[in-house]
């Protein structure tokens, strides 16, 4: 993957093939001779860079079915956090595939899918299978993030690249330690913390009964009076998650459904928070 430096730099490197240049690729890989002959931008590919297993872990628990900050121009899938997450996951998989990386998909919770776990493989057919799963997936159920992440962590291939897309709406203390399973496998984890800015801002303007799609009690709250206190709680929670992710070896990236998808993708690919 052009975005990744080989961990085996210095060893024997064999030329594999050419690949069309895509925006975001390292310009150092451009083959200027080919450009001179055919006016095409191609990048040389070497054997050592082709085999970076990539996996996307997607949380589609019931809570991700809420939210309404979908962006025009993208499949909003009911304008929910889940829609944004599915779109994000599909785009990431496609982009990784185009870069020749073998990809895998792990869906946590969710309903309507023929499979919830697809191992890391290359090939167009495998990608189409991933898309099939994503297209049929709907938010639902309870994630049980602690167990799910621990289980997936044990399954990923060593030294792989993993994107975890979740809203993290379970007690962080119950699932943050599970991220250590990825660290033990030497995985490079991108933690995409999914949230709807409207929910964090508690932007309802009248007293309503709030309930969780995953079940549990309802709460009658007047958002106008509770907004300030809720903001404090949100800030504390984000800090808690961010600190936990970093502590267990991951990179924290806030994934607001209110921001353009390409902006988030650029950050994910570059690894910049």
């Amino acid at each position: 993957m052009g975005g990744h430096r080989s961990r085996r730099v210095g060893q024997a490197i064999e030329f594999a093939d050419y690949q069309e240049y895509l925006p975001g690729m390292d310009l150092r890989g451009l083959d200027w001779r080919v450009w001179g002959r055919s006016d095409r931008y191609v990048v040389k590919r070497f054997e050592t860079e082709t085999e970076l297993p990539c996996a996307v872990v997607l949380d589609l628990s019931g809570d991700t079915g809420t939210g309404k900050a979908g962006l025009g121009g993208y499949p909003d899938l009911d304008r929910s956090k889940a829609g944004y997450a599915i779109t994000l996951a599909a785009t990431l998989l496609y982009w990784l595939h185009r870069h020749g990386e073998p990809v895998g998909l792990e869906v946590v919770a969710g309903t309507g899918m023929p499979f919830s776990s697809l191992p890391t493989r290359g090939g167009r057919n495998h990608l189409q299978l991933c898309f099939l799963v994503l297209a049929s997936a709907k938010a639902g159920g309870v994630a049980g993030l602690g167990d799910a992440l621990a289980r997936v962590g044990e399954r990923v291939r060593r030294r792989s690249w993993v994107a975890v897309i979740t809203d993290g709406m379970e007690e962080p203390s119950t699932w943050l330690p599970s991220l250590s399973a990825f660290a033990r496998r030497g995985a490079d984890v991108r933690f995409l913390h999914l949230f709807d800015p409207g929910e964090y801002a508690l932007d309802e303007d009248r007293p309503v009964l709030f309930y969780s799609p995953e079940g549990g009690d309802t709460l009658a709250v007047d958002p106008v009076g509770a907004r300030e206190a809720f903001g404090e709680v949100v800030a504390e929670y984000v800090d808690e998650v961010k600190g936990g992710v970093v502590r267990f070896g991951g990179r924290y990236l806030p994934a607001s459904t209110g921001q353009p998808l390409e902006t988030l993708l650029r950050r994910v690919i570059r690894g910049a928070a």
Binding site: D63, T64, G65, T66, G67, K81, D167, M169, E170, E171, F195, D196, E199, Y200, E204, R206, P207, V208, L209, F210, Y211, S212, P213, E214, G216, T218, L219, A220, V221, D222, P223, V224, G225, A226, R227, A229, F230, E232, V233, V234, Y237
Partner: protein, 681 residues
């Protein structure tokens, strides 16, 4: 203090408080349901707010219930009744203004006296009376006086009478003032407006019975404020002379009735004009005692201790008696005690020199038998009076030496006198050698009269300078002691009085500073009628004064209080004595039986005396020390409140306050509710 409700049943509205509870419990629950993906955070927020919310919820409930309770209370018409109110005057149509003009009303504050305030207040009340209202004015000090005979509608007359009220130095007899007011009300209810400082420890308590009577009558006594705040006064409450070391001690007691300590400059003025300045430190609301040493020589009479303060000048001075200090005692040698008082020379001498007895007299008589002459002390006795002493020979040298050293001897004749013995013993100091006694007429005849003194220039006759000389020819003697022929020599031998025919009656001899006077007749009824004549007392006192050098040494001492009658028991006198006030003006007096009575209206030294004679008595008149206490210890309102509590209560209507407080609580709870609205899950 008590609490009452005009409409107690309205308290049932308090049950509405239950509505507050129901409203609190059945709080509005929103109906719209919204799926929320961050319920984890919502639960965290609710948990955090629950503690705060719980307190606010109870606060809200309490405020709502209190508001409803207050609304119900307000509807029930709550009233608080507590003592402290004073009814206002007006409305009765029968008003008596009682004005205190005692000494303490002279207290000054802010440039005016309390009495002037009282006058202003009273005139204001009169001006505000309805035209048909019946009114009168009573003034009181020691006694009370109504300024009109009965209640009147002539307000102009009352106003003029009030303006003309003058201050006195008398005590406060509030009881008398109220009694006079009750008399004017003539058994019907009315209002008594009291303009008084109510000062002094007894003023108000002593008036309790009159207050009871007025209240029973249905009347109200309403004090009108004329008090100084705080009252201040310094007074000399006691001045008493006690003989002792040197010239004795004058003990002064000063009282400070103000709240602050202070140093007061005082001045003690003795009867002879000597002045002794002192300074006295007075504690706040306390007393101080100061002792002033009297000089070893001072004339007797009435002195004054003056401690000036600006608050109440009328009681700044306290007058006290001071006896003659120094050698002023008279040694009377009784040579013929006699079987009855009228046959005793000493009896008449005592009555003449100390008419009210030795204790009150300015002259101290030491009466001894002839053998007692050995007690003669030149440092103490200035005069030796030998009354019909038979044999002076054992004491001749002593008396001669006494005279040569400046002493004075008066010899009175009698049946016991023997010329040989006197000539032998006292020949060196007699005006002329004695000869035998001789009868001028028969004993049952009136005797030979004295002739008028040739001149009144002699100090002995000063008291008789105007008209008293006429008393001398009434003195008659039928037997006298004769002397060898002699000639008057200025400054040596002088015939002061003589009988018709030139027979010497009173002869003086001077030997240096000493003098010897010989009365050639008796000082009892034996040979003369002198003791029965009006000239006797002033003559004998004049002799003592002349020889002792003290004016008024024989005067008696009495004390009096301003405004209260002074009663002086009179000795047997042929003429009525006069009384002279401190200002030198005669004071009106009357005699009841053998008692002279007068009523002083100012403090100071009053002199009682016969015309043209030295004072027979001094009266030191002072203000009543109780009147100097300008502090209020009791109040008329206080006693009235005890006697009739219902009239002196304050009723406060709390309905408005209840409604107002309920409104405030409702607003507050609305604010709190608005603030906690969103925090309620």
């Amino acid at each position: 203090m008590s609490f009452s409700l005009l409409a107690p049943l309205a308290l049932g509205l308090a049950a509405l408080g239950g509505l507050a509870v129901l409203a609190h419990l059945a709080r509005q629950t929103p109906q719209d349901r919204v799926a929320f993906g961050a319920m984890l955070l919502m639960h965290r927020m609710v948990k955090r707010l629950r503690r705060r919310r719980r307190i606010k919820d109870w606060l809200l409930l309490a405020m709502r219930m209190a508001a409803i309770a207050l609304l119900a209370l307000g509807a029930a018409g709550p009233q608080v009744v507590y003592p402290g109110g004073v009814p206002e005057h007006g409305g009765s149509g029968r008003v008596v203004l009682v004005i205190d003009r005692s000494l303490s009303m002279g207290l000054q504050e802010a440039g005016e006296t309390l009495l002037s305030r009282a006058r202003d207040g009273a005139t204001g009340v009169i001006d505000g009376l309805p035209s048909g209202a019946l009114a009168s004015v009573v003034v009181f000090g020691d006694e009370a006086m109504a300024l009109t005979d009965e209640l009147t509608t002539d307000h102009e007359r009352l106003r003029a009478a009030v303006v003309a009220i003058q201050p006195t130095n008398e005590t406060s007899n509030l009881q008398a003032g109220l009694h006079e007011a009750r008399r004017l009300l003539a058994g019907e209810p009315g209002e008594v407006l009291l303009f008084s400082d109510e000062a002094g420890p007894r003023t108000v308590p002593d008036a309790r019975t009159e207050l009871e009577a007025l209240i029973e009558l249905g009347s109200t006594v309403l004090p009108m404020p004329v008090h100084a705040d705080p009252p201040r006064n310094v007074a000399v409450t006691r001045a008493q002379y006690v003989p002792g070391v040197d010239g004795g001690t004058l003990t002064l007691r000063l009282a400070n009735y103000g709240p602050d300590g202070l140093e007061v400059a005082c001045e003690v003025t003795l009867p002879d004009g000597q002045s002794i300045p002192i300074f006295v430190d007075l504690p706040p609301a306390g007393e101080a005692e100061e002792r002033v040493t009297i000089p070893s020589k001072a004339l007797g009479g009435v002195g004054a201790a003056v401690c000036t303060d600006p608050d109440l000048p009328a009681d700044d001075a306290r007058y006290f008696h001071l006896p003659r200090v120094g050698a002023s005692r008279v040694l009377v040698v009784d040579g013929d005690p006699g079987d009855t008082p009228t046959r005793s020379e000493v009896y008449f001498l005592e009555r003449a020199l100390a008419p009210w007895g030795g204790a009150r007299s300015g002259v101290a008589l030491d009466v001894v038998a002839p053998t007692g002459l050995t007690s003669l002390d030149p440092d103490v006795h200035r005069i030796v009076f030998l009354a019909n002493v038979a044999d002076p020979r054992p004491f001749g040298p002593l008396l001669t030496e006494f005279v040569r050293k400046g002493g004075n001897v008066v010899l009175a004749a009698g049946d016991n006198i023997t010329d040989d013995r006197y000539n032998a013993a006292l020949g060196a100091i007699l005006p002329a050698p004695f000869r035998q006694a001789r009868s001028l007429t028969d004993a049952d005849e009136p005797g030979i009269p004295l002739v008028l003194p040739p001149t009144t220039d002699h100090p002995l006759f000063k008291p008789f300078s105007r008209s008293g000389r006429a008393a001398f020819p009434k003195v008659r003697s039928h037997r006298v002691l004769t002397l060898d022929a002699y000639e008057d020599r200025p400054d040596e031998v002088t015939t002061l009085l003589a009988y018709e025919g030139g027979i010497p009656a009173l002869v003086e001899r001077r030997i240096g500073q000493g003098r010897v006077l010989v009365w050639t007749s008796t000082v009892d009824w034996g040979w003369s009628n002198l003791p029965l004549q009006s000239a006797f007392m002033p003559l004998v006192q004049g002799i003592v004064r002349y020889l002792g050098g003290e004016s008024g040494s024989g005067a008696a001492r009495f004390d009096g209080t301003v405004g209260e009658p002074v009663r002086i028991p009179l000795p047997d006198l042929a003429v009525e004595p006069d009384i002279t006030g401190p200002d030198g003006q005669p004071v009106r007096s009357r005699i009841e039986g053998s008692t002279l009575i007068f009523r002083p209206d100012a403090a100071g030294a009053y002199a009682v005396g016969l015309p043209d004679a030295p004072p027979l008595a001094f009266v030191a008149v002072n203000t009543d020390p109780l009147e100097s206490d300008v502090r209020r210890t009791d109040s008329v309102v206080g006693i009235e409140r005890e006697l009739d509590p219902e009239r002196f209560v304050v009723r406060e209507d709390l309905a408005s306050a209840s409604f107002g407080l309920a409104f405030v609580l409702l607003v507050l709870q609305a604010l709190v509710a608005a603030r906690t609205r969103g925090e309620t899950p």
